[in-house]
Amino acid sequence: MADTEVLPDIEREEKTGSKSDLEPGWLVICWNDPVNLMTYVTHVFQTVFGWNRQKAEVHMLQVHRQGKSVLARTTMEMAEHYVHELQKYTLHATMERES
């Protein structure tokens, strides 16, 4: 058995591989599906993001009038989480890297 244990270089790989993922450069976007009730979209925004009614309504109306709304600017991991939660409610949500 060797005196010195050689550990795999996991730590370094993780640091370089996840740096950009940890930066808040990801946008969570909700797109308009005309079939969704306005009250439903408001409720989902409140539930998923913990927003008050007023803020949720502002974003709901933006989706309704402009076709989409940027709901969050966050890390890749959190963006994936939010998109997944919104899609559980069958809202049309995607994420993209901020340009």
Partner: protein, 162 residues
């Protein structure tokens, strides 16, 4: 369907026999939205994007399977709908209201997709083939409104012009 009591952890709704039948028939459509409908991003074509998409679909499939199990349990559970002189009482916790909203919206969006994703003014003619989707679209929206009203989310008058 009418909210008759608010409990500490949920709600009690009153339903007529006809409303109970309509709710049961509507949730039986679930799940209606195809698993491939949802995407993490608009353009992702990389191997990582494909992998993330696969994980998303798997996760949503698990979630829908669980919702489906809860729907069937709700319909089969004798005590869930308590019979009264005029109809039924349906007791739902807050989290059950959330999954029922998700189920109903899946049925609503799935029906809309089946009808060809029309805008309001472009709804296709009702035919024997698509009538069930019209039914599901309208009835799911109606029950969503009842539940949302119980949660205190109601439509504002100024939205009517939207």
């Amino acid at each position: 369907m009418k909210l008759i009591r608010t409990l500490k952890g949920g709600f009690v709704f009153r339903l007529s026999p006809r409303e109970k039948l309509l709710l049961s028939e509507t949730v039986k459509f679930y799940p209606l939205v195809p698993a491939s409908h949802h995407h993490l991003n608009k353009e992702g074509k990389s191997a990582k994007a494909d992998e993330n998409q696969r994980l998303l679909e798997e996760s949503l499939a698990e979630h829908r399977a669980e919702n489906r199990r809860l729907v069937l349990a709700m319909l089969d559970e004798p005590k869930r709908f308590r019979e009264t002189k005029t109809g039924f009482e349906l007791k739902l916790t807050h989290s059950e209201v959330e999954w029922l909203l998700q189920v109903l919206n899946d049925v609503r969006v799935g029906s809309w997709l089946a009808l060809g994703e029309p805008e309001h003014e472009e709804m296709p003619e009702v035919t024997e083939e698509n009538a069930k989707y019209y039914f599901a679209l309208e009835i799911s929206g109606l029950f969503q409104s009842f539940l949302l009203e119980a949660l205190g989310v109601s439509e504002k008058s100024e939205w009517a012009a939207e």
